[in-house]
Amino acid sequence: MRRDRILLAHGGGGSLTRELIETLFLPRLENPLLKSLDDSAVLVMNGQGHAFTTDSYVVKPYIFPGGDIGKLAVCGTINDLAVMGARPLWLSLSFILEEGLLLADLQRIVESIGTTAGEAGVQIVTGDTKVVERGKCEGLYINTAGLGDIVAPNWLGAANVKPGDAVIINGPIGEHGVAVMSQREGIAFQTSVVSDCAPLWPLVKAILDTGAEIRAMRDPTRGGVSAAVCDIARASNVGIRLHEDALPIGREVRGACDLLGLDPLTIPNEGKVLVFCRAIDVAKVLAAMRGNPIGKHARVIGEVSERPPGIVTLRTTIGGERIIDMPTGEDLPRIC
């Protein structure tokens, strides 16, 4: 079987993405900072910790219910900083534009970038513009990098989770993926689901301000909740059990997933955060989250144990138990 080319699934954030990172990127680029493979690199300069991250956005279509590629590019990068316990401060912004793109569309997207950045208290401080021939990219792609100051008192890496911790999420899952899929040609279906795309920093700050001991946070984007918890279980070498009847999944998202043969747990989110904290801090953390507009529906969805190490399981509604595995990644290309 030929394995000489990149497949769409290599970009899905699942096991093929991981394989590419581990077999192609890491061996050639390895250093201690990169190796942790967290959402941001943590750099210490003059005693102050900084989080540094980058992300590219290729979502199709570039305007979707609840947002557009510009809002997504700001939120996605801010959120990767926030989940490391960093206050996002500065962003870079690079455009790859297709010849023929409507200026009105570009204007709308840049306005959306400005508004989102303003709301989140970050500044766009550097940028770049390239144009390629018609047909060589679809509308536009955006790359952003972000820099923030770590304010969390402890390191929030994926390897930091301990048995006995609780798993909390701030609201219903699967909305971003379903909203984007509903607009795709060949699938297009009527739904009132809108993307949950939102900056997480205000919510994360409220969580950190409680003084509770937060072990780790993750924004479950590509690969959804499944990929995020599988990553954490593996990095921390712990067992994680989720409860199906506790998972917040809207009726429309569930219906769309049934129709398309997808698992809501693997659908990307853009305004959700998984919080791992000590069980005794749960009430405090939940109260702080519920006081925030994007944390109103926060709830505990699972717990961490010693066994089985590295494995995530789901207690099903009817009382069975099954494994949650890292998704392969081919189901939802170009969702963010």
């Binding site: 990149i6 769409l8 060949g186 081919e330």
Partner: protein, 354 residues
Amino acid sequence: MKAMVQNIGELSHRVGHDVKFMEVCGTHTMVAFRSGLRQLLPDSVRLVSGPGCPVCVTDPSYLDAAIELCGRPNVIIATFGDLVRVPGTDTSLERERAAGANVRIVYSPSDALLLARECPSKNVVFLGVGFETTAPTIAWAIWRAARDGVQNFSVLCAHKTMPRAMDTLLHDKELRIDGFLCPGHVSVITGANIYRFICERYRIPCVVSGFEAWDVLKSIEMLLRQLAEGRAEVENEYSRSVNEFGNAAAQRLMDEIFEPCDAVWRGIGIIPGSGLAIREKYARFDAAKALSVQFREAHVNPLCRCGSVLRGAASPLDCRLFGRTCSPTHPIGPCMVSSEGVCAAYYKYEGVAA
């Protein structure tokens, strides 16, 4: 739910021996694994999966033919998503797409027809793989293409029908099936009566089941009750969607476009009369004829046990490739590719045996 599990326990006790029930629908396979319901069954009740995943039962020579087609200039392959990752002899549609072939994923045959209208200079070939559930939608697309005189749309047809396959499995001495969970989606089209011969000829109970976990548990309970009371009948647990006679309009449409043919099932072999071929009247929409497709014998990994898994004769855990060289990331057999495949379900939901 607890009461149902308790009933199943009591009934299996009354039956007094180990029983093996087979489901023959990929969606049932998924439900059984995703809900973890197999763990709620007593040890004496085994639920096995039969040839219910359409991608899995497709002969590899068909995939090779599709792959050959996608390499021709002026051809666009339109297909359901599951098929693109299934390996043929040397490669898969997914890998050929990465190398430049024109392979599009569609969610219905009507979208493939639409694609043909949008690309008049290309031949759009839809890969017609599936059971009675999808056959009417393909018949509908062919019928409309004929009505509107669309010249550049055709179907590479490998459709199959379920009752003959169930009949064949009952002749397999290795298997000894005590009851069938009949596929709900197929039965919406065909009606529940098509399974009556199984009860009459083989004295084996059948229950048409819905797709929630409790539907499947309820159906298992109904099968056990039939065994305990010495009955063998077709019962309908999915009466909210299925009746005795099925969807007459869909059946008429299928009959207009298709005729029965012998079909090759991966793992089972040729089952006479178990396939659907496009009738001569619509031959110009039959890609095999219109584009002169040659089917050649395919070469698959001899260690792959998908064939036995599909008959319910082996568990994925019996396969030497399972979880070692064959995984959802790098599948070797179709049962590891399809979301409805038994190997993928074992791998994802039961974990690789330590």
